[in-house]
């Protein structure tokens, strides 16, 4: 069950997206997210959505995997959509099911619901692409490099990225362990699936205590293993994979710049009427 999580997983490959510099990928993803929140009309949103789809196609990651990742946010998406429909009263009224409560569905509500849903899906699509195509170590290294200016403020960026690498590395291990402990407790008669919410929450205590205890043991052993491999926490490490911005990265930056320019122009400076899609927010 918990094993099905694909969000945050890495799928090795050698596509255009895989080969991008991880730093570039992080920066591009951040800019893309900002652009998503800047855009105010369907034209630019559609453009961003399509470019997210193009990026996925370029990454050669199967669409099944992507859909599986989206499944996790279905509830969030539906809920936000409903909220938009309920609370937005702009535009013409389409339907008044419960007039006595002042509840009505308007064109504005429907538009903004669709808008928000597309926006969230584009956001998840694009940002999960980052973790799908970048190994956790590369991601941690990239963050370390991007944060390295913080060294001026005596922030230990190296340790931060090491912590991230190890945390990401142990997520699957700990998930496996939870499964084992839960089975072990069930075998001893623990009831983890029925009862009220508080009862079920209480039943989880005997699952988490062994998990925490064993995590400490793991940490202790891992520390020995890392020491054996000459890790001290403050040695000057080199990297097997050097990060270098290449032509690919500049192309990707160029495309991003173009997208952002279009989004900003159509959302803030557009006075022409040939963008037939109406402004939503």
């Amino acid at each position: 069950m918990i094993k099905d999580i694909t969000l945050g997983q890495f799928f090795p490959g050698s596509s255009f997206i895989h080969k991008l510099d991880p730093r570039a990928k992080i920066v591009i993803t951040l800019c893309f997210i900002v652009a998503l929140f800047l855009c105010k009309n369907f034209f630019s949103l559609g453009l961003l959505f399509v470019s997210a789809l193009v990026a996925i196609a370029l990454s050669k990651i199967s669409f099944k995997v992507i859909l599986k990742g989206l499944k996790m946010i279905v509830i969030l998406v539906v809920f936000t959509g409903i909220l938009q429909i309920v609370y937005n009263d702009e535009g013409t009224v389409l339907w008044k099911p419960f007039e006595q409560f002042g509840f009505q569905i308007t064109t504005g509500g429907v538009f903004s619901a669709v808008f928000i849903i597309v926006r969230i899906i584009a956001l998840i699509l694009f940002s999960s692409l980052l973790t799908y195509t970048t190994s956790p170590t590369a991601l941690a290294d990239a963050i370390e490099r991007l944060l390295s200016p913080l060294k001026i403020f005596k922030v230990n960026v190296n340790s931060l990225s090491m912590m991230m690498t190890i945390a990401l590395r142990f997520i699957p291990t700990l998930i496996e362990e939870i499964d084992i402990i839960m089975s072990a407790q069930k075998a001893r008669g623990a009831d983890l699936e029925t009862g009220t919410l508080t009862q079920r929450a209480k039943a989880l205590v005997p699952v988490f205590i062994p998990l925490i205890v064993s995590s400490f043991r793991r940490a202790y052993e891992l520390a020995f293993a890392m020491e054996c491999r000459c890790y001290t926490g403050d040695n000057k490490r080199t990297r097997m994979k050097e990060m270098k911005l290449g032509i690919r990265d500049y192309i990707a930056f160029g495309v991003l710049l173009l997208l952002v320019a279009v989004v900003v122009y159509t959302s803030f400076f557009n006075t022409f009427s040939f963008f037939i899609f109406q402004q939503v927010i």
Partner: protein, 281 residues
């Protein structure tokens, strides 16, 4: 520094509890390992054998006595790095010694800590992975491997540091028979290529191929000798909670019943040969 042994324990005592000096985990242990030697340390749980592994590369420093690695004192902090480059340790739980999520990135961890240039790291990682037969898995996720494969990745992580000796601390205790075979065969292959191996275990079968077997019990060395010498002392082995390999048991029984077996066959092949020789008479 008289004659330089690769690993030289001289009257080593070690206690986990500095207050209580009587509770030594390791008491007065002396032995040597030379270049290219295959040494097996036998002992059952709580015999102090895992402490010996951590003493061998300066993770622990002896409470009394000295440990020398290639003539360098492990108590001297200056030597720490050089010692850990020379003597690698592979621990029992493969999950708790893998740092990165991707096989090749984990193997690169050690060399990266040494500050070696990226190109050299790449070469070392590739060679190490080939040496343990995991090169085809270099881009796989570590948590999806089998126990034996994980342990081989851990071994590769050590090989990439170009050690002269690898200490295995019960490397097969958590593995299934197949994984156990994979790991032991890897150790033997490395030994045949000139690497010194110290294998700490409680599986008798793994001691058969050793140049030297050391039996520890209660933190002390009980016996030291060739596998044949050690296994002929069946009673001593049983008295400290160990067992003899089935082939040895069988040949001793046959001898008792009057079958004229010469010497002490250790492996199935040796026993079969000896038996055929007798039948041919």
């Amino acid at each position: 520094m008289e004659n330089k042994h690769l690993l030289d324990f001289q009257n080593v005592f070690y206690t986990y509890d500095e207050e209580d000096k009587d509770s030594f985990a390791v008491k007065d242990i002396s032995f040597t390992v030379d270049k290219g030697e295959y040494v097996v340390i036998l002992g059952h749980n709580g015999s102090g054998k895992s402490t010996i592994a951590k003493l061998s590369n300066s993770i622990f420093v002896p409470s009394e006595g000295k440990v020398f690695v290639d003539g360098m004192d492990t108590a001297d902090e200056k030597n720490e790095f050089k010692i850990r480059e020379k003597v690698g340790v592979v621990f029992q739980n493969p999950d708790n010694q893998i740092v990165a999520s991707i096989v090749e990135e984990d193997v690169a961890f050690g060399p990266e800590n040494l500050g070696i240039p990226p190109k050299t790291i790449r070469e070392r990682v590739d060679n190490a992975l080939k040496a343990v037969g995991m090169y085809d898995y270099r881009l796989h996720e570590t948590h999806r491997l089998s126990g034996g494969q994980k342990q081989r990745v851990a071994i590769a992580g050590m090989i990439a540091m170009l050690p002269e000796c690898i200490v295995f601390d019960e490397p097969t205790a958590m593995l299934d028979p197949r994984g156990r075979r994979e790991v032991i065969n890897t150790a033997r292959k490395l030994n045949s290529e000139g690497m010194s191996i110290v294998l700490i275990t409680h599986f008798m079968e793994e001691a058969v191929f050793a140049d030297k077997v050391i039996v520890v019990d209660g933190g002390r060395i009980l016996a030291e000798g060739t596998p044949r010498e050690i296994f002929s002392k069946t009673e001593m082995l049983i008295s400290c909670g160990l067992d003899v390999p089935d082939t040895v048991k069988l040949s001793l029984l046959l001898k008792e019943k009057g079958v004229p077996i010469e010497g002490l066959p250790l492996t199935e092949e040796e026993l079969t040969e000896e038996y055929l020789r007798i039948l041919n008479l």
